[in-house]
């Protein structure tokens, strides 16, 4: 066993040690119980609500909550697109960066609005510092809080009672910002700052290198943004190469901190659910399913990356550090593989290694993480995806044993199943039809679209498949060889992004809202228990079946074919 594995074990243990207490804290915040930060933020929140004309204690139905959510999202969209298209004359632009083109601004605004952070631009050269903090960083906070608020509405709906009053979106939203995202980001930013990440408003620095070349170096207010980028499962980097950049992720220790942050809130949300409903066993069942999935993706990826690229081995090249194309020496291949799987299962999408240069199977495992998109998943949004699979699992196990399907004392009926089916199927539909159309366009006119693909053959297909997968999973990582800053890619992925963000938010909230209104049936000996290992297993099998059946043919054409080519 290589010693690098110990670093991975350490990160997993630290995530657990932090996520369990943080989950409890999050539950307290959403239950409105007293917490440590009340003193700092209570009066500030009251002030914000008073001057915004919001009554934070007004309980809203699920429809009203969704309306509030969507309205504020539209406001952010227009704000973002305005700043991006006018950054040239706006302040904090020392390097005179021009305004964005309309299609790129559309894609960027959408991409950050939906918490995806697909970046068809490079941060150093395409964004002013004003855009970085007022658009990118701002959206990284508020969109994460949006996902968390939606999850909080669903938590609320799962309690044992019959009601149509499911809390107040604005309260959940603002508290997610002030009580959870802001304090965790603040601490993380300070750690990064003292580890070598810059935080300055000065522009590019010119200097002469030791061997006499003239060089330029980009800097900026990076530390503040990188913290929330990881905490809120956003993933959009300050610099073009994201957390592979020596300023964005300077040491092995910052790499550990950032990787722990990637997993922290998604894991905490699972424990928060248990505390919120006082059903800790249910939390552990969900945690067990998600962790099993995580490990099944992680272990082969670690093995592949640490073993190196078979095509280079065939040339007789010695690969003591593993597959080092697109990797940094300070992280090594194990920590890079761990990050790859962490970032794709959680819909984070930041990278510390170039996914395009992963070995074919690791690239496939990264795609699978996003295709499944519910092993932890994004903050809030990941739990909502898993909720859909729970509903499906309840229904299918109900059919198998011949009982009326029930979940937490509520009958699951036709309407809920219909919504769940649509949400479960929209994901493969968007990915596969997007890839199919793009492949067709490329195939009929390879000369006109030659700039799209950086690699020939199976790998070229993988680049397109990865892009739509990342967009539909609201992940934001990429096989960056894809020449994606063209109207086709900006607009088509933009549409995929919108549909794949809002439908999976609306669906679970609607199901939860409908269930909450139904009569509560106390559990009896005949009730199907959802907090057992056997129910966990059924959920796991359903998740795997949906992913395998939908995606296996596409994976066979891309990464699997490439794997067998170079074996």
């Amino acid at each position: 066993m290589k010693i690098e594995i110990l670093g991975i074990v350490m990160m997993i243990l630290l995530v657990m040690a932090l996520a369990i207490p943080l989950g409890k804290y999050i539950a307290k915040v959403y239950l409105g119980e007293r917490t440590l930060l009340d003193r700092v933020f209570s009066s500030l929140e009251r002030l914000f609500f008073t001057y915004s004309g919001i009554d934070p204690n007004r309980e809203m139905t699920w429809q009203q909550n969704l309306k509030a959510l969507l309205t504020i999202n539209i406001v952010w969209f227009f704000l973002a697109i305005f700043i991006l298209m006018n950054q040239a004359w706006l302040p904090l632009n020392p390097d005179k960066i021009p305004s964005m083109s309309p299609d790129l601004a559309f894609n960027t605004a959408i991409s950050f609005l939906v918490n995806c952070n697909l970046q068809h631009y490079s941060g150093e050269t395409a964004l002013s510092y004003f855009s970085q903090i007022a658009v990118i960083m701002f959206l990284q906070f508020v969109t994460a809080a949006t996902g968390m608020a939606a999850a909080a509405v669903v938590f609320n709906a799962m309690r044992q009672r019959s009601t149509d009053k499911l809390g107040n979106f604005y309260t959940y939203f603002l508290k997610s910002c002030t009580r959870i995202l802001l304090p965790v980001s603040f601490i993380s930013a300070v750690i990064l700052l003292f580890s070598g990440t810059p935080m300055t408003f000065e522009g590019v620095q010119h200097f002469t290198t030791l061997q006499g070349d003239s060089a330029s170096l980009a800097r900026g207010p990076a530390a503040a943004m990188i913290a929330i980028k990881q905490v809120g499962t956003n993933g959009g980097g300050f610099f073009g190469v994201n957390s592979a950049h020596p300023f964005e992720n300077p040491t092995y220790l910052t790499n550990m901190v950032e990787n722990i942050l990637i997993l922290l809130l998604p894991v905490s949300m699972v424990f928060a659910l248990g505390h919120y409903l006082n059903r800790k066993k249910l939390s552990w069942t969900i945690f067990g399913v998600m962790t099993t999935g995580f490990l099944l993706l992680l272990i082969p990826a670690l093995y592949q990356e640490m073993n190196g690229n078979p095509a280079l081995s065939a040339m007789g090249i010695h690969q003591p550090m593993g597959n080092m194309e697109g990797k940094e020496v300070r992280f090594g291949s194990a920590a890079s593989a761990f990050w790859t799987i962490s970032t794709t299962i959680t819909s984070n999408g930041s990278v510390n290694t170039m996914h395009d240069s992963l070995t074919p199977l690791s690239g496939m495992l990264a795609m699978l993480g996003m295709m499944i998109n519910s092993f932890f998943g994004g903050v809030g949004a990941g739990f909502l995806n898993f909720y859909i699979f729970i509903i499906l699992a309840v229904f299918i196990s109900g059919l198998m044993v011949g009982r009326t399907p029930e979940f937490l004392g509520k009958k699951v009926e036709a309407k809920e199943i219909k919504i769940a089916m649509i949400i479960a199927l929209i994901h493969p539909l968007l990915i596969l039809s997007g890839t199919a159309i793009a492949s067709y366009l490329y195939a009929v006119n390879p000369a006109a679209n030659a700039g799209w693909l950086n690699n020939p053959g199976y790998h070229g297909f993988s680049e397109m498949l990865y892009e739509y997968t990342s967009a539909a999973a609201n992940n934001g990582s990429g096989f960056e060889g894809l020449g994606d800053n063209t109207p086709w890619w900006n607009i088509s992925t933009g549409i995929v992004l919108i549909l794949s963000r809002y439908l999976p938010l609306i669906g679970p909230v609607a199901i939860a809202g409908i269930l909450a209104k139904k009569k509560y049936i106390p559990e009896t000996a005949g009730t199907l228990r959802t907090d057992t290992a056997s129910f966990g297993l059924i959920t796991f099998v359903i998740i795997v079946l949906v992913a395998a059946l939908s995606f296996f043919p596409a994976l066979a054409l891309g990464p699997l074919a490439e794997h067998f080519l170079i074996q």
Binding site: G53, A68, A223, P246, F247, Q319, E325, N455
Partner: protein, 190 residues
Amino acid sequence: MKQHILPAIKLTFFSILLLVVAYTGAIWGIAQAATNRGKGETIIVNGKIAGYDKVGQRFDKDHYFWGRPSAVSYNAAGSGGSNIGPSNPDYLSEVQARVDTFQAHHAGVSLDKIPSELVTASASGLDPHISPEAAYLQAKRIAARRGLNEAVIMQLISQHTEKPFMGFLGTYKINVLKLNIALDEINKQQ
């Protein structure tokens, strides 16, 4: 939806005050206490900035240790990796060309001794490090070019080897810029 628009706009305004203005301001304020006031840690040689200790720079001259290949030739104003897939035939011939160049400058080094990070492009194009093995391989060339004893170079490499934190968190690595500055120092002393 109408009743939500005004509250949404106002709440957005207050959120910006807190999350953008106050938060960024606070972190920037704390940065004033960090190394070089949060502008990135520089390395000064002869009173001038020679580089940043975290950011790699290009070394391709024979009297310096070489760093890793870079897809953006170490452009620190536009980072980038190669984004080349593992099976790409052009890529494989590029790696072979790098091996040939390395062997041309290091007579007698056989293929199975060259660690892959010396012939593969880093993720950022700005990787400041190489492994100790990659440095030891270059010692003979540098000793010859600088008229130094090979043992002195070997010792310098071992002094500059950074071990994993607490012995198990991280990789064994060498900061190429710092090692090359130390090389220049030795020549100056003689």
